[in-house]
């Protein structure tokens, strides 16, 4: 039991927005949508600047404009709004503009149910950038993650010059929980300081594959940002070798540098040959299921993915150690399973999912037990 601790009753939206503002977010630009509406309200209260956009396309275009001049914008939406943002998100990725997009999943398809949570948008994110380019995704599994991954997402967006998605769900953003403030460590703001590069090119090649950022409007040299195929000059080019080299760099930059931000929680029992894999809002149920199974002397490990796209190699290799892998997510199509294992049916890989409500620990335990002891 907690003793003599200062405790708050808060929802995850408040924790996440506070973290993003502390980490260096300059402006919140949004269009209200359930279940991202608490984020919108907190964004209005907390950020030094706030703009109500007339639609989600404008929201992301305004974010791009802010980012182009060296500020870190944050927006929040759910699937219907994210669908409208898609082309602008590709533009931000191509121009290498830093920003944070919080995607609060809700039950789909289409408008679905605005007030029912879900985990249905992971494959959408995997294919969000035309050509299958990796878009960094951070998935908080609890309030401490909202705090820590909020900070990391800002750092990654600025250091890697990329839009970053914080993928969450209605239950994480709207459910209130007791939280001890001492579990949220103070951290430093990530500076978005301009770096003027000697080459005077907008996208020079550097060892870390991330061009130094100079804001549009700077007094030193003209910055060229381009949504169309371009080379290091930032000017429109067809499929020239230089332009293709620049385009390939967009993939390599994220693949190489997302390892710096790889985050996962691997709870290991030495006796186990069975792994339960999950992310985001299903983490709580899986954690409880693992405790219950271990109480019953059924030894299982748990892996909670916190950064994805790409999934770190070390995580993929780790999967090979297990005789059985269960992937638990709040959908019925097995999106995380497809990302990790592809579409092939593998006898040792099992999906546990449902829609319309959160998966219960009992359901997970029952499926694990029935698969491990089929008779």
């Amino acid at each position: 039991m907690m003793r003599n601790q200062q405790v708050l009753l808060t929802d995850g939206s408040r924790v996440l927005i506070e973290s993003l503002a502390m980490a260096g977010g300059d402006v919140f630009i949004g269009y209200p949508i359930t279940p991202a509406n608490l984020l919108y309200g907190y964004g209005q209260q907390r950020f030094p600047e706030f703009f109500p956009a007339p639609d989600e396309i404008s929201a992301l275009q305004w974010c791009c404009g802010y980012s182009a001049v060296g500020k870190l914008p944050v927006t929040a939406t759910s699937f219907p709004g994210f669908a409208l943002m898609l082309e602008s998100l590709n533009m931000a990725f191509m121009m290498e503009l830093s920003m944070i997009i919080i995607l609060v999943q809700r039950l789909g398809p289409s408008t679905g149910s605005a007030t029912v949570g879900s985990q249905g948008d992971l494959l959408l994110l995997q294919g969000a950038i035309s050509g299958g380019y990796p878009l960094p995704v951070f998935c908080p599994a609890d309030f401490q993650d909202c705090w820590e991954l909020g900070r990391l997402a800002v750092e990654a967006a600025i250091r890697l010059r990329t839009p970053v998605v914080l993928l969450t769900s209605k239950e994480m953003m709207m459910t209130e929980r007791s939280l001890s403030r001492s579990t949220l460590p103070i951290f430093e703001t990530t500076e978005h300081s301009p770096q003027i590069h000697a080459s005077l090119n907008s996208y020079p090649f550097t060892p870390d594959l991330t061009p130094p950022f100079a804001p549009v409007g700077n007094p030193h040299y003209p910055v060229r940002l381009n949504a169309s195929t371009h080379d290091s000059s930032g000017l429109i080019r067809n499929s020239t070798p230089e332009a293709m080299k620049n385009t390939e760099r967009l993939r390599d930059k994220i693949v190489m540098r997302m390892n710096e931000y790889a985050c996962f929680d691997h709870d290991v029992d030495e006796r186990s040959r069975t792994l339960l894999v999950t992310f985001g809002i299903s983490h709580g149920a899986v954690r409880k299921a693992v405790e219950d199974l271990r109480d019953r002397k059924i030894y299982v490990d748990r892996l909670t993915m916190k950064t994805m796209l790409p999934i770190p190699w070390s995580v993929l290799e780790m999967m090979d150690r297990y005789s059985h892998v269960f992937v638990i997510e709040e959908n019925i199509t097995g999106t995380l399973k497809q990302i990790i294992f592809g579409s092939r049916k593998l006898p040792h890989v099992h999906s546990i999912g449902r829609i319309g409500r959160m998966i219960a620990p009992d359901e997970i335990c029952a499926k694990v037990v029935s698969c491990l002891n089929p008779c």
Partner: protein
């Protein structure tokens, strides 16, 4: 670096295209005002006119089809300075797909100059009609050309609040027109009716046979939009931090469902009791469920109180169900099992075997007080939360007087039951 805006004398457009004329006029206008190229940001749209970036020595952003005005608005709002000039280059196709952005930028009166290259046709994709094309501006006409007039973008942005609106022909004095627009401190739109020799009207003189009337409107009295930065406080500081000061009799975990109607204080009641539970050192999770409407239909609060950390909350089989209205009952009835203690509004028709208490909640506490009354009754009767913890959270609430009345009423109810 050269002070000249144009970086080249060779242009990528078809021979005779109006875009070449406009690019040269733009450079003349910017230089005549005295802008250094690095003080200029050109945001270009998709289409032939969007090829302008490579011709210029200034900052350039080449964005998406129709979104250039919105992107430029983000740039202007982000810079918070008036010593840079943002100029948008878009065509009639971009204006068609992005009309909302033009209206919005005019409504904000964001300081930018929009040069609408209206050659009355989609040139880059082969001569299709845009929303600004009049009948017979292209060989690719459709069945509805006579019935559907072209959009009057100048009229629309004027209505939206633009500071400057100008419509000109390509053979007018567009250098001076553009210079006047660029000097405006606010949203300026210059629509230039021009030819597209490859796909649209080929000869400039044929443009004058169209119905487009030259326009010049200047509204200098409206200040340009400026974004503001403000000081804000931590969102966590604004929450009350609670320390354990009381003891609860609770052992383990209890899962409670409070089921009522939207607008009747169900969520607030659960928050208040959750806060009181924090004062007893308990862990708390509270989830709300309601339809998308705010004050109609059901409102359900799921409240978990526990002596150990709560990693998962989703109540499938509650220990306690507090039911204050028919809306709420209809929603949660499937969750109630033999083990559930039901405390409910007495007027509801509900039959079950098992542990149940019926109370005149709505009569005594009113519709808006009934959820809180039911929670108080349960907390105090079963000594889940001590009275002092509840009194403390009530004292800090902005409806303290009303809540105290409900507490008093529940106290009387409990005394009556004791006899």
């Amino acid at each position: 670096m050269s002070q000249s805006l144009l970086a080249t004398a060779s242009f990528p457009y078809c021979p005779g295209c109006g875009h070449t004329v406009i690019a040269k006029a733009l450079a003349w206008a910017v230089e005549s005002i005295g802008y250094h190229p690095l003080d200029v940001i050109v945001v270009s749209d998709i289409g032939c006119c969007g090829l302008i970036d490579g011709l210029l020595n200034c900052h350039t952003i080449h964005g998406l089809h129709g979104r250039s005005v919105s992107l430029a608005q983000g740039v202007v709002m982000g810079m918070q300075t008036s010593d840079k000039k943002v100029i948008v280059v878009l065509g009639d196709g971009g204006a068609t797909i992005g009309l909302q952005h033009l209206i919005m930028a005019a409504r904000y009166n964001v300081e930018m100059t929009v040069i609408l290259h209206n050659n009355l046709v989609y040139g880059m994709t082969g001569g299709q009609k845009s929303g600004l094309s009049p009948c017979c501006s292209t060989d690719i006409d459709d069945d509805y050309s006579d019935a559907v007039p072209p959009m009057d973008v100048c009229g629309l942005v004027e209505l939206a609040g633009a500071a400057y609106i100008r419509r000109m022909y390509i053979d007018d004095d567009i250098e001076s027109g553009l210079a006047e627009a660029i000097a405006v401190n606010g949203f300026a739109l210059v629509e230039i009716i021009e030819n597209c020799p490859s796909h649209g009207i080929r000869k400039v003189r044929e443009l004058h046979g169209l119905e487009h009337k030259p326009i010049r409107v200047l509204k200098a009295d409206r200040p340009a939009f400026r974004s503001k930065r403000r000081q804000t406080c931590s969102l966590l500081d604004s929450l009350e931090e609670m320390e354990k000061t009381e003891e609860s009799e609770l052992t383990g975990t209890v899962e409670v469902v409070i089921a009522g109607s939207a607008g009747e204080g169900v969520q607030t009641a659960a928050q208040l009791v959750g806060s009181a539970a924090l004062r007893c050192g308990l862990h708390v999770a509270k989830k709300g469920e309601y339809p998308v409407t705010v004050a109609a239909g059901f409102s359900i609060a799921y409240l978990t109180l526990s002596t150990t950390p709560i990693h998962f909350q989703n109540i499938f089989n509650p220990d306690v169900a507090l039911i204050t209205s028919q809306d709420g009952m209809d929603k949660v009835i499937g969750l109630i099992s033999e083990k559930t203690l039901v405390i409910r509004e007495e007027s509801l028709t509900f039959s079950r075997t098992g542990n149940e208490i019926r109370l005149p909640l709505r009569r005594l506490a009113g519709a808006k007080g009934s959820a809180f009354a039911s929670l108080l009754f349960w907390c105090l009767k079963y000594q889940i939360i001590p009275l002092r913890a509840i009194q403390t959270v009530i004292e800090g609430h902005h409806h303290a007087e009303k809540l105290k009345l409900t507490l008093k009423m529940v106290g009387e109810l409990l005394s009556e039951q004791a006899f």
